[in-house]
Structures are given as structure tokens and as C-alpha cells.
């Protein structure tokens, strides 16, 4: 009887703890990103001017206390004290993420040149580098890769996977639910104005009233298509057969020290978008091309 009584007293107490409110606002925050058409337009090494979603590199975005344009000559988060010439000012982000991931691309040639969410299939990679960059993809023995299926099968073998949804470099889910896997399922989709729009999530972000969303896009290199936010010395280690290379991964301090990585032809948001509530509908506009 005594034990039953104790349980009867303890159980409601324990249950009430489940409803305890810590007072923290931590939410999955949804944002929209707009990349102007000019940012996805370029005269390619083959001389042809193209507007293509493959020219939209990884977009890095974060929440910052403030954004100003008088530090580096373009919109950039405020930075903390610069007390040492070896360490630039830290922007101290409250959090952030990226849209378009630099991942292991299965061939050394493609390291730091491929971002997820930009290619419908692997054939588009072959076309992109062979035709537009006039720099055909080659395998580890310098043989030209002429089909996307070769890259796909290489991925399957190296990564011990069996589906595109495990490689996650090309389209693998029908995001717009039209029954097809095509360019409308990429991260960025052309809108009615000819610009490119995307939706992104920042998972489990602690909300701070007044913080501002800011970000930038790392444009692919003019000659090789390489992304300078990628660190080719890190990432998946491929040492199979005659391979010996790292798959590349983003540098670790991109949101803390954006100015270290922003280069000419990258596109930044000239101003931050302030949040008053965690569920504000905010569009991050990358409206300024860096040209210094």
C-alpha cells in the first residue's frame, strides 16, 4: 500500500516535468534565398554566354547581430575585436547553414568542383565540364569520362552504395511532386522574373530577437569551376586502387570568417534581413557582386 501511495505521488510529478518550459526558442527556421539572374549568367571558357543553375555555387548563410558595408566594402556581418594580425575579426554567428553541399564527387578531377542540388544527373556533369569549360572530366588514369553513368558507378563502388539518394549529388527526390525527377527538383528553380529561388532550413536554431540573416554565394572559378570555400585537403579519403586523394569539404570557419573566403565574382547580400519572430517570412537576396 505504502509503495502504491509513493508511486501515486511521484507519477504526476514526473509527468509534469515533461511540460516544463525552459524559455528557449529553438525552432527549425525556414528561409528563402533569391539569387539574381546575373549571378547565374556568365561567358564560359567556350565563349558562350549561359544562364545556368550550375553557376550557382554553395550558398552560406547565418544569423548575425548586425550587417554593415563599411568594413570590407560590401555587406558583411559586424566583426568582433581584431587583436592579432594573424586572426581576422570573428563575426560570431548565432548559427547558420548552407544550401548546396560540397561532397565527395567520386573522381579526383571533380574534387571541389561539384555542389549538390545543381545537377539533375551525372550526364550534366560530363556536359558541363566537357562542353562549357572545355576541360573534359578524366578518371584516375587520365582517360576521358564520356558518360555520367561511369561517374555514378564509380560512386556506387567507392562508397559501397546502391542509389542516387545515398550519393546525394544529383536529383534524387521529386520535390515538386510532379512525378518527374528534373531541373524543377534542384535546390534553385527559376522564377517568373528569371531569377533563381530556393527554400532552405536551419535546423534547431536558437532564436534571438533582432538577429539578421546574411549570406553569400561562392561562385565557381572562371577557368576550372573550382570553389574556393572547399578544402581539398580534407573530406572522404579515397585510397582505393590507384587513387589517393581527399574528396574535399567546406572549410570549417566559413560563417565565422566569411571575408577570408569571399572573392571577386562571389555574390553577397548587401543587407541583413532582421527577424522579429522566429517564423518571420524572410527572403535573403544575394544582390551584390563582389568586385574589388
Amino acid at each position: 500500500m505504502r509503495r502504491s501511495l509513493s508511486l501515486a505521488l511521484l507519477a504526476p510529478l514526473a509527468l509534469s516535468a515533461c511540460g516544463f518550459n525552459e524559455g528557449l526558442i529553438i525552432e527549425d527556421m525556414k528561409i528563402r534565398i533569391l539569387v539574381p539572374r546575373e549571378a547565374a549568367t556568365r561567358v564560359m571558357p567556350n565563349g558562350e554566354e549561359v544562364t545556368d543553375v550550375r553557376l550557382i555555387g554553395p550558398v552560406y548563410f547565418g544569423f548575425y547581430a548586425d550587417v554593415r558595408d563599411d568594413i570590407f566594402g560590401y555587406g558583411h556581418p559586424s566583426i568582433g575585436p581584431v587583436f592579432n594580425n594573424q586572426v581576422g575579426g570573428d563575426a560570431y554567428p548565432y548559427g547558420g547553414s548552407s544550401l548546396g553541399d560540397i561532397r565527395y564527387p567520386c573522381l579526383e578531377f571533380l574534387v571541389c568542383k561539384v555542389v549538390s542540388g545543381r545537377y539533375v544527373d551525372f550526364d550534366e556533369m560530363v556536359e558541363w565540364f566537357g562542353e562549357y569549360y572545355e576541360d573534359p572530366i578524366v578518371d584516375s588514369r587520365d582517360n576521358e569520362v564520356t558518360t555520367g553513368e561511369y561517374i555514378r558507378q564509380t560512386c556506387f563502388e567507392r562508397m559501397r552504395v546502391t542509389g542516387d539518394d545515398e550519393i546525394r549529388l544529383t536529383v534524387y527526390e521529386d520535390r515538386n511532386e510532379d512525378g518527374k525527377l528534373d531541373h524543377l527538383d534542384l535546390d534553385f528553380v527559376e522564377n517568373a522574373d528569371g531569377d533563381f529561388e530556393a527554400e532552405a532550413m536551419v535546423w534547431q536554431q536558437e532564436f534571438v530577437e533582432g538577429f539578421q540573416l546574411w549570406g553569400w554565394m561562392d561562385s565557381p572559378g572562371q577557368v576550372t569551376g573550382r570553389f574556393n570555400t572547399c578544402n581539398s585537403a580534407e573530406g572522404f579519403l579515397d585510397q582505393e586502387y590507384d587513387n589517393n586523394f581527399r574528396g574535399g569539404r567546406p572549410h570549417r570557419d566559413l560563417l565565422n570568417f566569411p571575408s577570408r573566403y569571399i572573392r571577386n565574382t562571389d555574390w553577397v547580400a548587401s543587407e541583413g534581413k532582421e527577424f522579429q519572430n522566429w517564423d518571420d517570412e524572410v527572403v535573403l537576396v544575394l544582390d551584390h557582386e563582389v568586385n574589388q
Binding site: G80, P81, Y92
Partner: protein, 327 residues
């Protein structure tokens, strides 16, 4: 007496006693002649242009635990020169990972290291005005609070000793056990006081006293590396394995020796040899290190003798290691 009352009668005094529990028995005894927090005074950066000059510019000392949960170590100051200043510290002795690969093992590292004679020192340095420790009493750091535009407070460490690695590209890395650690303070402000912290990250298990060699020189640390003929950082400073049974009192004099010539008298016999063999093995495929360890095993076959106060083994116990290919 009811059982519950009896239980309370036992538990309550125990709980009350717990309030004054210090847990000091968990920590090694402090050494009265080696204070847990030492103040080494103000040092003058040395000008060195040869390997021999480097050897004679080394300050040698020892660190020991505080005996409590407080972090131990040492601090010293120097005046900014208007240029670069290098801080370089090498804790005793050498450490290597035993090669236990089933295929293609490294014979020169196939014998284990004696992990009981090594320790670790971490360096931090910055403007003395930001230092919040009490020299000779407690170690501190260079942390200040930065308030961002939204009024949120962010702790910022004004440590100018920036050591980077793959994992810490913006700084914050440290060398590991027994490995030399160094950093350059570029463009020091002329005449301004800088404080350097040598934090005792770990002391050797065998005697709880960590010998070290310390260099403070004009110019970039890369200059010192370029002057090092062994091409291995471990051998820039030799002889830092100081015998713990010396009678030096660090409360009166912060260093036991100045320069390699002096320290040889108080170092463990053979310590410079093992450093040299390690460096040779590290930079080439030479197997002198393995041969040394085999000879040491022959000389001291009962490895538990290594714990005797007057015996120093630099190699570990081959019988107490994983079998080849172990994971």
C-alpha cells in the same frame, strides 16, 4: 528503532561530512620545492643565429602539480621588441606511437614508448594588461567579454599564441604529449609587457615532475626550425629530462640550468641519446631507436624496476602491448 530511522542516522552524518569533502586525495602531492604555479620573472628574448647558440639560450626548469584541482604551470613576462618573438617549449621526453600494423609495420617504431616519463605543456601568450591570473598564485587567461550589437556578451580570448591545425584552422590547437610546442607573436609592441603561460597539461606518472626546456628568441619560430640540422622539432631542445631527485629549490631560482652544457649535469643519463635516436627515426628509416630499446630491455629485464627512483627507462614494456594487427 525503526529501520528508516536507523538508515537516516547513518546517512545524515555521511551527507554532512560530504559538505567538507575536498577530494584532494585524488590529486598528486604537491612538491614543496617545485611550486604548482611558478612565476619565472621577466625574460629577455635571445638573439640566435646558429644551432649552438640556440642550445645555449635554453632555460631549463621543472613544473609540478598544484595538489588540488587548480591548474598548474608557470608564467613569465617579456617586453615587446617591436618585431616578432618566438616562444618555444619542449616538455620531457619523447613520445611515439608503437607500430602494430599487421602489414607493412614500421620496425623503427615497433617497440613501445615509456608513457610514464612524458608530460605535456600548453602555451598561451598575450598582452599582460589582459592577463587575469595572479603570477605565482593562480594561472589565468586572456579572456575579456565582447558585447555584440544586440547586447549579447561573447567571451573572447585575447591569446596571441595562435597554433593552427587541420582541426583548428583559426587557432586553438596544441601539440601533444612530450612534443615541442611553439608560436610566434608577430609585431609585438615595443616596450609593452607580454605574459606567457606555460600550462601544465599533464605531468609524468613516474615522478610528477615535468622537466622542460624553454626558448624565447627574437624573430619567427620558423627561423629556429631552419637552423635545426636534425629537421625534427623534438631535437631543437635537448636534455629537458631533468632528474627529479635534484635538490634545486624553484621557489628561490626559477631555472635549474641555462643552456645545454649546464643541463647535462642534471639530466637523466641517456635522455639526449634517446631524443637523438627518435629524431633520426622520425626523419628517416633508421632503426637505432629499436636497437636502443632492445638493449635497454636486456639491461633492465624486469620492467617493473623502471619505477625505481634512480632508474629511468625510456622505452616501454614490450610484453604489455597489443599484438600485431590489433584494433
Amino acid at each position: 528503532m525503526r529501520p528508516t530511522t536507523g538508515l537516516l542516522a547513518v546517512v545524515l552524518p555521511l551527507l554532512a561530512a560530504g559538505c567538507s569533502y575536498s577530494g584532494e586525495w585524488l590529486f598528486p602531492e604537491p612538491d614543496p620545492r617545485v611550486p604548482g604555479v611558478q612565476e619565472l620573472g621577466t625574460l629577455e628574448p635571445a638573439t640566435v643565429s646558429t644551432y649552438e647558440e640556440i642550445q645555449e639560450a635554453v632555460h631549463y626548469g621543472e613544473l609540478a602539480p598544484t595538489g588540488t584541482a587548480d591548474i598548474g604551470g608557470a608564467t613569465f613576462t617579456f617586453e615587446g621588441t617591436g618585431g616578432a618573438v618566438c616562444i618555444w617549449v619542449d616538455p620531457e621526453t619523447v613520445y611515439w606511437s608503437q607500430s602494430v600494423a599487421a602489414s607493412n609495420p614500421q620496425p623503427r617504431f615497433s617497440y613501445p614508448d615509456n608513457v610514464r616519463d612524458d608530460g605535456d605543456i600548453d602555451i598561451r601568450a598575450g598582452l599582460s594588461v589582459y592577463y587575469n591570473g595572479s603570477p605565482g598564485v593562480t594561472l589565468g587567461d586572456f579572456q575579456v567579454r565582447y558585447q555584440d550589437e544586440l547586447g549579447n556578451s561573447i567571451p573572447v580570448e585575447f591569446n596571441q599564441c595562435v597554433i593552427t591545425s587541420e582541426q583548428y584552422p583559426a587557432g586553438g590547437a596544441h601539440s601533444g604529449r612530450a612534443a615541442p610546442e611553439y608560436c610566434t607573436l608577430n609585431n609585438t609592441q615595443l616596450g609593452t609587457s607580454y605574459t606567457v603561460i606555460l600550462e601544465l597539461f599533464s605531468a609524468p606518472y613516474d615522478d610528477n615532475r615535468l622537466g622542460y626546456g624553454l626558448l624565447l628568441t627574437h624573430g619567427n619560430c620558423e627561423n629556429l626550425r631552419n637552423l635545426n640540422p636534425t629537421e625534427t622539432d623534438e631535437c631543437l631542445i635537448l636534455g629537458e629530462s631533468i632528474r627529479g631527485d635534484n635538490d634545486h629549490d624553484y621557489r628561490e631560482e626559477p631555472f635549474i640550468a641555462q643552456g645545454f652544457t649546464e643541463v647535462e649535469d642534471v639530466s637523466w643519463e641517456g635522455s639526449s641519446t634517446i631524443e637523438g635516436l627518435f629524431c633520426a627515426a622520425y626523419s628517416s628509416a633508421q632503426e637505432g631507436l629499436l636497437e636502443y630499446c632492445l638493449a635497454e630491455e636486456e639491461e633492465i629485464p624486469i620492467r617493473s624496476d623502471c619505477d625505481e627512483p634512480d632508474i629511468r627507462c625510456f622505452c616501454g614494456d614490450i610484453a604489455d602491448t597489443p599484438s600485431p594487427g590489433s584494433r
